[in-house]
Symmetry: C2
Subunit: 405 residues, 2 copies
């Protein structure tokens, strides 16, 4: 059960992008699991990928292809991650790109492959290839919602959002979709997320725009601390809206970057709200740090503490566990007598000890909520960071104990 009402809003089409989702029977039965996205000629793309050393075969191939050419197609499957599959996994990813290139008349290097699902099983290349003709003939402007459904694994809801802004006085649209429910702790990268815009954006600017957006969105969430082998986030700008190409010199570039970042933030938030087994949506805010790094260090230690997460699941205002997590975060020379901790507006720890006016009933009231702010003030500087996370429930254990069975 996701936290909050997460109904997929209407997703705006992006001029220059056509998509289709079909059922290839890769792992799931009776649902779509294969996606083709076609990008108009002249589109530019930027992407960030997982930093996991065991990155999956499609990540290796997509990174390589993107260095050689701009993509015309994204090929995405769910149900099988094609990770930990060694040389044969790489050959499988290349074979899928090759098949799509042949059918569509482009070069294989113009296809970026993506996979998500179980690690360590051979990709059923033949079933995937067999479904490609149907996908190509189904391409349409309006399949964003179907694609958001098709890339799900343990997600309970499809995730997407659209925004509009004006560039050069013309309307520009951004639509983003994402999946991700477990193995979530992006490290300088993301889960699977795809953003399209009809803006025209200069290639290097597109990359820096995406980097900045990812840094403040997908790189600020954690479900279980486990960075995936397959994380990828792609931003495509088709340029179909016309106007001058966006770059830092353009007066509308900051506003464009802000919208991209907001779309990424919303997708990141949706991922945490639909985290495996989540019953709470938790914001960990750390201020008063000497620098951003130590704020993040504290925020992630609290957000990933199994004891804090089980207390959140139990709606137990067991603030001692929050305090213990702050204390073990490894900050040098932390003066605990300067640390204050709030649950929402309720001060639970003041100057390192329980707040004199704290009453358990106040903490309980906040913990009973589905959305909780853990607000930690270190009192040693001006830096501030924020991380989103979920709780650790029986359902998380059940899902991950049964995922392969």
């Amino acid at each position: 059960m996701p936290v909050g009402s997460l109904q997929l809003p209407p997703l705006a089409q992006i001029r220059g992008i056509r998509l289709a989702a079909v059922a290839a029977g890769i792992r799931y039965q009776g649902r779509d699991d294969l996606v083709v996205m076609e990008l108009a000629a002249g589109s530019r793309a930027a992407a960030v990928f997982t930093r996991n050393a065991f990155c999956a075969a499609p990540v290796v191939v997509a990174r390589e292809h993107l260095q050689q050419d701009m993509p015309r197609y994204l090929l995405i499957n769910s149900g099988n991650a094609n990770a930990g599959t060694g040389a044969s996994g790489l050959a499988d990813a290349r074979a899928c790109c090759q098949a799509l290139a042949q059918l569509s008349g482009c070069d294989a290097r113009q296809v970026l492959p993506f996979s998500t699902g179980v690690i360590g099983q051979k990709l059923p290349v033949e079933r995937l290839q067999a479904a490609l003709p149907a996908a190509l003939s189904a391409l349409s402007d309006s399949a964003w919602a179907a694609v958001a459904e098709a890339i799900k694994t343990t997600d309970t809801v499809a995730k997407g959002v659209s925004r509009q802004l004006q560039v050069d006085g013309r309307p520009v649209t951004v639509t983003g979709i994402a999946k991700g429910a477990g193995m979530i702790r992006p490290d300088m990268a993301t889960m699977l997320a795809y953003l399209g815009t009809d803006a025209d954006v200069e290639a290097e600017s597109l990359r820096s725009c995406l980097q900045a957006a990812v840094e403040r969105s997908f790189n600020r969430i954690t479900v279980d601390g486990d960075t995936s082998t397959n994380d990828a986030c792609v931003l495509v700008a088709t340029g179909a809206a016309g106007g001058a190409a966006l770059s830092p010199a353009h007066p509308d570039y900051p506003a464009f970057c802000e919208v991209i970042a907001q779309v990424c933030e919303r997708l990141a938030e949706l991922i945490v709200r639909d985290a495996e087994g989540a019953t709470k949506f938790v914001t960990v805010e750390v201020s008063g740090g000497a620098d951003a790094r130590e704020c993040l260090q504290v925020a992630y230690t609290v957000a990933q503490s199994p004891l804090v997460k089980t207390a959140l699941f139990a709606s137990d205002p067991n603030w001692g566990r929050i305090l213990a997590a702050v204390g073990r975060a490894g900050l040098r020379d932390l003066d605990v007598s300067k640390v204050d901790i709030f649950l929402d507006q309720v001060c639970i720890v003041r100057q390192g000890g329980v707040a004199p006016d704290y009453r358990e009933a106040d903490g309980q009231r906040v913990m009973n909520q589905a959305e909780i702010l853990i607000d930690i003030r270190l009192g040693r500087g001006g830096a501030r960071e924020r991380v989103w996370t979920s709780d650790l429930s029986h359902e998380y254990v059940r899902i991950n104990a049964e995922y392969r069975s």
Copy 2:
């Protein structure tokens, strides 16, 4: 349910140490929760404490007292950690030391206080003090097992072990007890553990002996990655066995240190076997690292991965999660094509991909066991480290969601 048969063996008495456990009603009803250990005059003690910045009041006071004098008494309570209690918690810990000092005729600085249990609640000083006379009159040589029972919190079994060796041709005995089942990831320190010996050991040598023993035992285990606020390990040498004081110059000193380390290792192992909700006892061994630090980095990342731990609980040979955890451990320039991973003797990953001869039935056979070795070979050096951990079960979530209720 602990993993393996963990019946408390007979614990040998230590000449020069008398102990008692009584019921003070600190939190639990109908069981002992207060311990007094009396050390003969001339005993030497060494201790290591938690590095959690929010260390508990008794840790602050014990560290302070130990710098000023050698202890004559250890005063230990379970059920209340006296942590996160600020200035009044410090005053409470001092008041308890003062009360015991007065009753026994020693100086308050010769009393070391220890607390374990719920964080953030006021220590019931009066109930604790009221139980001291009964504890003092109950002191005996033979209460080690009763004391091991009394210091338990969520532990399901009492933990202890005795060993003997010869020093200067005379028999010397070592007895150790410990508690700890959750909030376990000692960081250059330990849970609550107490070791006594009748050997005569020079003070500085006692400290270095304990440091080395802790480093290879308590500092190599993790249950949930949460370093406690109250960890402490004390080694007392009464000298009652006679003979020259042990120091590095003594030919029997290495053998003595080895026995101390073995006792610590056994206690550390018992703690993991009785970890909260544990159904598996898991050894993560990492070899072929460039140095010990990176071996530990990989070992802890695997041992603390919620996805690895739930797969262990499910007896699911989902080796992709192990591989993903190795990949995100943050090793610089890790060449995954040199990484091999074994479950016991079964090679699951060879040269970074699934081993060609791996069959799921073989992995399943190992995963069905209650004791599992995850053997990771990095192929980039000669360093080797080993960490013990447990799985993540429904019972862990239940215990920690209900602990305070």
